[in-house]
């Protein structure tokens, strides 16, 4: 379902950009609010949630914990105390504490560390498009899946810095990146300006 939605979004993006330059200029100018950040991260990473048990037993399940995550970033749905509604402008969601909280959630999801009940994270090797792939091609592949666009040179550079990989390095299932370094690569994508905006 996520992939279909992503494909639809990508199609609509191309479609709308072909319609008018105003659409194209409007992309990536709005900061994602906490709810958008969380939903986009779960979708982009292909995380699956199962139905939590009723009552307290369900509190630690992903489907419930997602509420604590979004609250940590700054706004649980329907929790804004004032009648004027929670802010939807970019400035309000551009605070350092929001960034620290978002980066923390991204790291937990990228590593599959928390939530850890009632939730299924894709295996690191599942991100490989082929048995062997160059690192820069892998970043480009993942950028298309997570950010819905080809990888920029800047993104490849940032991913190299985060992981210690060289652009032409050959990545296989046995490579350290797949065995233990994938969280760093994924969180680099999630922590990028292209992910944090829409």
């Amino acid at each position: 379902m996520f992939q279909k939605a992503d494909a639809y979004e990508a199609f609509m993006g191309r479609y709308s950009r072909s319609l008018a330059p105003e659409f194209a200029r409007a992309a990536r100018t709005k900061v994602r609010d906490p709810g958008e950040d969380i939903v986009a991260a779960y979708r982009a990473l292909g995380i699956r949630l199962s139905r939590p048990p009723a009552g307290k037993a369900g509190d630690s399940h992903g489907a419930t914990a997602v509420l604590w995550q979004v609250a940590g970033i700054g706004a649980k749905p329907f929790d804004w105390p004032r009648p004027d509604g929670q802010p939807i402008d970019s400035e309000s969601w551009s605070s350092p504490s929001r960034l620290v909280a978002s980066l923390s959630v991204h790291r937990d999801l990228a590593g599959g560390w928390w939530p850890n009940h009632g939730i299924r994270y894709p295996k690191p090797a599942s991100w490989l498009p082929a048995r062997t792939v160059r690192f820069d091609a892998l970043v480009d592949h993942m950028s298309r899946l997570v950010l819905h666009q080809p990888a920029s040179k800047r993104l490849v550079k940032a991913c190299c810095e985060a992981t210690g990989c060289k652009p032409r390095e050959r990545i296989t299932r046995e490579h350290g990146l797949v065995r233990w370094g994938m969280p760093r690569l994924l969180t680099t994508l999630l922590d990028s300006p292209d992910f944090m905006t829409r």
Partner: protein, 418 residues
């Protein structure tokens, strides 16, 4: 008030700094930098962010509308005992009694500081008109700018009067959503503990790669979010001394408020330039089963409050001379107890003040007298903003007209002037 002066000396230098930081140097760009070593990354932070705060204000919100008539009991008002036959606190149990008032017995941990002139109470405070909705009253109290549609709380306006835009000037130690009082255009931090103020990914296995990677992604970004990312590096790097400060939480009561105030004290002892902290204590909405003076809900909540605040005031080290704590609650409760041994939403309330600049050991405010009809409220004789304005004016040298627009404060006398 001599006892206060000797208990909490205020060096002239600190006072001058309080004024000069806002007055003389407002808008000046600090040129010097300070190099901090955090983990393996040496970072230069702007000097504006590492100027120690000349004064620190801790605003402790008693969420749910605390009953001020239980916290500070008007034992000499005859209506108090007739209106509360089952839940009143007997006069012979009260502490620090004067001719009219006495403290709830569970405030005992604060008594030494009360006697030393470091803790005071202002009674019959509140909004200019009753508002019995928790959310609406909290918003009104914390926005403190009635009629304005600006999304800016009084504490955000207060830190806005200081130069620099370090997000460390205002800190919400309740974590999550910033309270209305601190919300606004000035950047602030929110975390439930000191150690949360870190850049996720800069862990023990990281040797600067994470920061390099983030800078590659963000340094060119001129948007508000890009600016916030740079501000985050600064906040995290500047926060090092707070993390290095000793964790003394074991000397606090093992309660939510105890843990939160232990973290506040640790950040204060780190002296990283935080001027304003917000902390919450919940569960004051006692409609039913409030308990007696011996046990129950009220006793437990007051015990948590007093134990945590007393531990906090004793844990400030060499920073004690600049830290002021104020309690505030969105409204008070009815004079007359209800059929469920509880109290419904009322109006006037008490505010407690402790620490630097407080002329303590006394009760302030003008007592309106209680009435005993079913819907009777404690009336408000002191606008809560007058109390806060006095703190803001004396401790921060800030313009009270900026912090509390369109409000003319009246003198309360609870703070010593600079």
């Amino acid at each position: 008030m001599d006892s206060l002066t000797s208990a909490a000396p205020q060096p002239c230098g600190a006072e001058f700094a309080a004024v000069s930081r806002r007055g003389l140097f407002t808008g000046a760009v600090a040129l010097a930098g300070a190099t901090t070593l955090v983990g393996s990354a040496a970072v230069t932070a702007s000097a504006a962010s590492v100027i120690p705060a000349p004064s620190v204000l801790v605003v402790l919100s008693l969420r749910g509308a605390a009953d001020g008539l239980s916290l500070v009991v008007p034992h000499a008002d005859p209506v108090y005992y007739s209106a509360r036959p089952r839940i009143a606190v007997p006069a012979d149990r009260l502490l620090a009694k004067d001719g009219m008032f006495g403290l709830h017995p569970e405030l005992a941990p604060l008594l030494p500081m009360w006697d030393a002139g470091r803790v005071a109470a202002v009674h019959a405070t509140g909004l200019p008109a009753p508002n019995r909705s928790h959310f609406a009253a909290m918003e009104e109290v914390e926005d403190a700018d009635p009629g304005s549609v600006a999304r800016s709380g009084w504490l955000n306006r207060l830190i806005g009067t200081a130069p620099g835009r370090s997000p460390l000037q205002g800190f919400n130690m309740s974590g999550g959503v910033t309270p209305t009082s601190l919300f606004g255009p000035e950047p602030t931090m929110s975390a439930s503990e000191v150690d949360e103020v870190a850049l996720p990914g800069e862990d023990e296995w990281d040797h600067g790669e994470r920061r390099r990677s983030l800078r590659t992604l963000w340094d060119h970004d001129r948007s508000p979010l890009g600016r916030a990312m740079r501000s985050t590096y600064e906040a995290v790097d500047t926060f090092g001394p707070a993390k290095a400060a000793a964790d003394t939480s074991s000397s606090y009561p093992d309660t939510d408020l105890g843990r939160a105030l232990a973290e506040v004290a640790r950040a204060i002892r780190g002296d990283v330039g935080i001027e304003v902290f917000t902390v919450d204590q919940g569960d004051w909405d006692m409609h039913a089963g409030l308990g007696s003076a011996d046990n129950g809900w009220m006793v437990n909540n007051v015990r948590e409050l007093a134990g945590a605040v007393a531990a906090f005031l004793g844990d400030l080290g060499d920073q004690a001379g600049k830290v002021t704590l104020v309690t505030i609650s969105e409204f008070g409760r009815r004079v007359v107890e209800n059929a469920s041994q509880g109290l419904d939403h009322g109006y006037g309330n008490v505010m407690l003040l402790a620490g630097a600049g407080v002329r303590g050991g006394r009760y302030y405010g003008s007592w309106p007298g209680l009435r005993a009809d079913g819907d009777a409220d404690l009336l408000v004789t002191t606008d809560y903003r007058s109390v806060l304005a006095e703190v803001v004016g004396t401790r921060f040298g800030a313009s009270t007209a900026t912090v509390f627009p369109r409000f003319s404060p009246s003198s309360v006398g609870v703070m010593t002037s600079l």
